[in-house]
Subunit: 318 residues, 3 copies
């Protein structure tokens, strides 16, 4: 997929569909913008509301249910002063046989300014961005197994918050790489930002066949794979996979690929642990690690609000 569609002729962000093809300076601009939405009271951080999107209307267009992601986008848009319309498309006109394109044409005719799109099909957000009216921005909130760019950027924000310089970092992504749009977008973002190494750790059944073309190194063993690692990103294990013969039992998975305190010792002593949530305690991660001193999982959630504000502000004021 071409990604030029994401940029205005002036090179600013028009849509945000995938980190793929964007420049390091643009990704850094998103992180810097997100920074401006935080105020610091001693050690406490708070979000600063700013009416940058007054008189703008954002439509949360969720073809796939995701209360949590929808909520952070809704909060982010409201903090910017925008009007928000939530549309759960499972129950709407598409069930009356209307095509996706007709749904989009109708909504854009209502003078809205942005679509935040979640869809089970890879490429849905790109398709909408290609087809929609020129005044509308599209933000991908997860499309199939393709991309989840705001999740990737909130992860980048969290890494920068703790590690400052990307170029010296070795980052491990652990788990179901094959089905994960989060992993895919993280790999792109990390490579663009110039980390020293992205290492994926997974059983062979959960790796894409052409994983090497992404420029990552591969390990099938946790202890060995975590060596010298600065950042450990655990992926959520989709329980649906269990039944599909790709995986043994949950217990077996945890035994081989679960992040325990012992295993975490294989990484650098100051390594941080991340997870996009919701976590499966005792499946991909032990509770002691999820709640431990090296975990930054809840900071990721906080950063997600600011990063989504940044992406909305940048695309909608482009």
């Amino acid at each position: 997929m071409t990604t030029d569609i994401q940029l205005t002729p002036q090179g600013t962000l028009k849509h945000f569909l995938t980190p793929e093809g964007l420049s390091a300076s643009l990704l850094t601009a998103i992180l810097d913008k997100a920074d401006t939405f935080f105020t610091h009271h001693g050690t406490q951080r708070k979000i600063k509301a700013m009416p940058l999107l007054k008189d703008k209307t954002v439509v949360n267009l969720f073809f796939e249910n995701s209360t949590r992601t929808r909520t952070t986008f809704e909060l982010a848009a409201k903090h910017l002063g925008a009007e928000v319309i939530n549309m759960n498309i499972a129950t709407s006109a598409t069930s009356k046989g209307e095509s996706l394109l007709d749904t989009i044409r109708n909504l854009e005719s209502m003078f809205v300014d942005a679509f935040v799109v979640r869809h089970a099909v890879s490429g849905a957000a790109h398709f909408i961005a290609q087809q929609t009216a020129p005044h509308i921005s599209v933000i991908n909130a997860g499309d199939g197994q393709h991309a989840h760019p705001t999740q990737a950027m909130l992860d980048m924000f969290t890494i920068r918050q703790h590690k400052k310089d990307f170029t010296s970092l070795r980052v491990a992504i652990v788990g179901d790489i094959l089905h994960s749009r989060v992993a895919r977008s993280e790999i792109h973002a990390l490579k663009i930002l110039g980390v020293k190494e992205v290492r994926v750790i997974a059983p062979k059944t959960l790796l894409p066949s052409k994983i090497d073309t992404l420029g990552v190194s591969v390990s099938h063993d946790m202890a060995q794979g975590l060596e010298d690692i600065d950042v450990v990103i655990m992926l959520r294990l989709q329980k649906e996979r269990m039944t599909s013969a790709l995986l043994p039992s949950e217990r077996e998975y945890f035994h081989c690929f679960g992040l325990t305190p012992e295993r975490l010792h294989c990484a650098k002593p100051d390594a941080i642990v991340m997870h996009p949530g919701p976590i499966n305690r005792g499946v991909e991660i032990a509770s002691e690690v999820a709640d431990g001193a090296q975990s930054v999982i809840l900071q990721q959630v906080s950063n997600g609000v600011a990063v989504r504000m940044a992406v909305m502000a940048m695309t909608l004021c482009a």
Copy 2:
């Protein structure tokens, strides 16, 4: 049904339940008001937010699911600065055995200012308007097979936008007239605004038995029926009808009553094509026509936001 209930003692609009019984000058006032909410940037139109309903609360009271209609009312109310509460009544207290009247009494006690009502039963909005507290306005967003007045008015707005003078126009309404609240409200509005002719085109099974009492002419043939027509309004074919022995197959229906480019040639060369949406491509309308130069279907959607703003502003500031 009496319609005096729609007016204040001063003759202004208190509720908007049906165009039936309203004057041409009142309908024109709605269109004029809607005009004030548009700004023009070259050939582009935009909606202008105006805080006319600051401190007012509008309840979307949807007993029948309709994401699209609910969304335009929600947008319209928010553009006017109102607070909006969405109530999907399928899942609420009525399912605990509460009567409609008790639901209304409760909501009006919460100091809300308007109900936008969608209900599967004809007359539901009238009933609520009759029973509700004097400070509350009721706007009918579609009741059974009775009326859908804001849809009719956005159609009138669209016609005036393109054709200026109503009195010289011949308008065809094509399809399932029998079950259509849209057709019924359009016929009333068109007659009140003084068009030269309203012609309905439909198979005999989809016409009400007393259609002639509405002051319309009737045709059962598309080519003949479209002659001299300035405005073609296609109705959505409810697929449920197919199973009810009122209709042959979809293909057969399209063959006889579908609007194709060839058939559209039977109308005047500058005829416009309208449809309340969502459209069934290849059932009641060919894609070439729906997306063609004479189609104003998406303008109808845009106009719907302004017309609903107008109706809310007029009833709530009455």
Copy 3:
């Protein structure tokens, strides 16, 4: 359950989980605060919007569906200028196997300021208040059979509106005391505010075994139980109970414990009749009484908006 958790070190309201353990002066402060949100136009009352919670975010966290209660909290929060996020948890991440605690941790990381919690399990709101971050307030919107404190306080508000002095009052609560969180919170609030007598009237099967420890008197007969009563609070009969062998038929129940005009004569002539709604006409209350001159049922609904504004303003500005 300890209730100190409800107060700040300065003794102001931090959470509102149950009236139990709070002082008469604090409950009175809630009523006084609620009073400030009403304006009076002749005999008409209106709610006055006040932007006390500008830049605050309130999350309606409903693990149990209740459109009516959710709507009053939403209205109350919006009248105070807060942002409101509605979360219906039945359809959210908890269904992906996330624990309640992880859901809470995630939401609090999004920089929200209050949770309005409805849950089928007694103690859920307390649990959340104990576990959540220090900057967050929790308001109990009904937990299992334990408490429904804002309902109790809007009832107190309604009683004070009509009866002025609590200390001279005899109050009857009639119906399913056993399963009622409303009854439990009302008993606590009435005792704290110092009424002369709280009398519960119910069949033996619908009374808790240790009812006497609550300091109430008990009657199993309507006519006798209503003697000298100033305030009659009818409870909703949960129809589910019918099947559980605790009750005879609805007709039989109405025959023995339904509030008819005749029975109401047994109470004081100026007694008021209350009900938390939604009412079952002809089951626990006759329509003539529900709609009669002594009924203040709809005033309860109105007062509920102001009381919830008061509780939100007090906890969130603590």
